[in-house]
């Protein structure tokens, strides 16, 4: 089972970030939320490993101060 990668793993970090923003450009909040949800599901299926996904959920949950 692969561990969740939390070290830098994107060779072109700025390009990837720009791709994300570009995909949302001009979308309403509603359409953006829907796009994000579809993207998460596609990526989750690609990862295909529940343990990694749970580690990712934990990492996401704990990365920002509790709201």
């Amino acid at each position: 089972m692969a561990d969740l990668i939390l070290k830098p793993n994107l060779a072109q970090a700025d390009d990837v970030y720009a791709d994300l923003l570009a995909a949302h450009e001009g979308l309403s909040k509603e359409d953006s939320d829907a796009l994000n949800a579809r993207l998460i599901l596609i990526l989750a299926n690609h990862i295909g490993d529940r343990a990694v996904l749970r580690a990712a959920l934990d990492a996401a949950r704990t990365a920002a101060p509790a709201g």
Binding site: D33, A34, A37, L41
Partner: protein
Amino acid sequence: MNKIFEIPLYPYTRSPDQDAQTPARRKVVIVGAGPIGLAAAIDLAQQGIEAIVLDDNDKVSFGSRAICFAKRPLEILDRLGCGQEMVDKGVVWNLGKVFFGDRKVYEFNLLPEEGHQRPAFINLQQYYFEEYLVNRARALESEGAPIELRGQNKVLKVTDRGDHTELLIDTPEGQYTLEADWLIACDGAGSPIRAMMGLDFVGRVFEDNFLIADVIMDADFPTERWFWFDPPFNKGQSALLHKQPDGVWRIDLQLGWDIDKEEEKKPENVIPRLKAMLGEDVKFDLEWVSIYTFQCRRMEKFRHNRVIFAGDSAHQVSPFGARGANSGLQDTDNLVWKLKMVIDGTAPDSLLDSYDAERVHGADENILNSSRSTDFITPKSETSRIFRDAVLDLSEKYEFARPLVNSGRLSVPCTYDGSPLNTPDALPGGPARTRPGAPCPDAPLGNGFLLGDLGDRFTLLTIDAEAPDTLDESGITVIRLALSGADDATGALAARYLGDAKSAVYLIRPDQHVAARWDSFDETATRAAIRRATGQE
């Protein structure tokens, strides 16, 4: 013409017990003549145990109610002698379509595995299901089996007397007292017995209402299960269309929480909804309309000394996945052989505690599955709706998303992993699906099927292995069923019971669940497994 559910099938007649000087004592009294109570009574009576069924009514279920019966309950009904009628009358279906908004996003085929006598599912109105069970009970009665149905017998009071339960019963001719060695409460989700005993029934309430309409129509809709998420004719809600016998169609429409139930049930409100769904030109008659809400909950314990709860009285699930009546039949399948052994004195009373352990496990599995279906069908927050809609949008284009669509995970029997009755697996290379605790999967056998040769007693199934023809242990006789992998040319028997093993010996319980398995016969180990499976060690 009167519908079957309008005719009293077990009208009140006076029982000699009502005139007894001292209260009569009966072996097993069952409260509730629904599918579960009738199945329990038939199972007991055909094994020679006296079963008296009390019901405050005298007719089968009003309206279709439960309509979807899965393979495992059909196999149980085969053991009870009335599976064939159900399958002959029922509608077999395998195809489903899923719609989202105004478009079809995909279709699926259940693709049932080959080599089983029974189909994956049939649709059959609960009133037929009950009618066939009543017919079976009557046939047993006429053969002299100890079974009796007492209509319009309403239990008013239940008292635990330690070694028996005392019942005060009301009838059209007044009250009488009856004593039961054992009481099985199959009196439904609203169980009056449970309430009289002051027992808990906690869980999760789903704030939603569903309209069920059974319509009779000559329409050329195919025999498929159609499920709509957010359809134009029921915006923001869900809908289901499913075929039953006799040209009756089940329609389920989600209505939401804040509605006036009495108003919504009126034909003048129901009919326009159905026309919007079916089309203005489709001619139909309403057979039955009901509005239901549901909860997912269970009792903490199903056994309370000599009162045992089975079916909806013990656990309640949402209807998505057809896990209500289907799981209730698995309750009595699990209970009856144990109760018979305790009554016969061949097993200790504590064997019944394994009913609790195994069926609580089953109920938790059903509650988990049906809660998840409900959360998908009726999202509880904005974010859960966003994810739900994302899954549906993706499912149209990408196959990966289809397994995430959850319009009900259809009932499959549970494996009693971790049951105190199991002996640890000792068949290296054996298939996981037949591990100890699992229900035996069917397999073709010459002109028949394997499951017809199992059940009602302990069986030692040998496949390409030697063993004695019978084995007596602690008052239990185990009969061998000797097979060879070559007995089934399709290879299903070997695939399901041997896997990578060359030979196998299975100890199979009277409810067709695996208790233990080995690669060859070992007398000491087999004897220990029999004692373990009957609560004797």
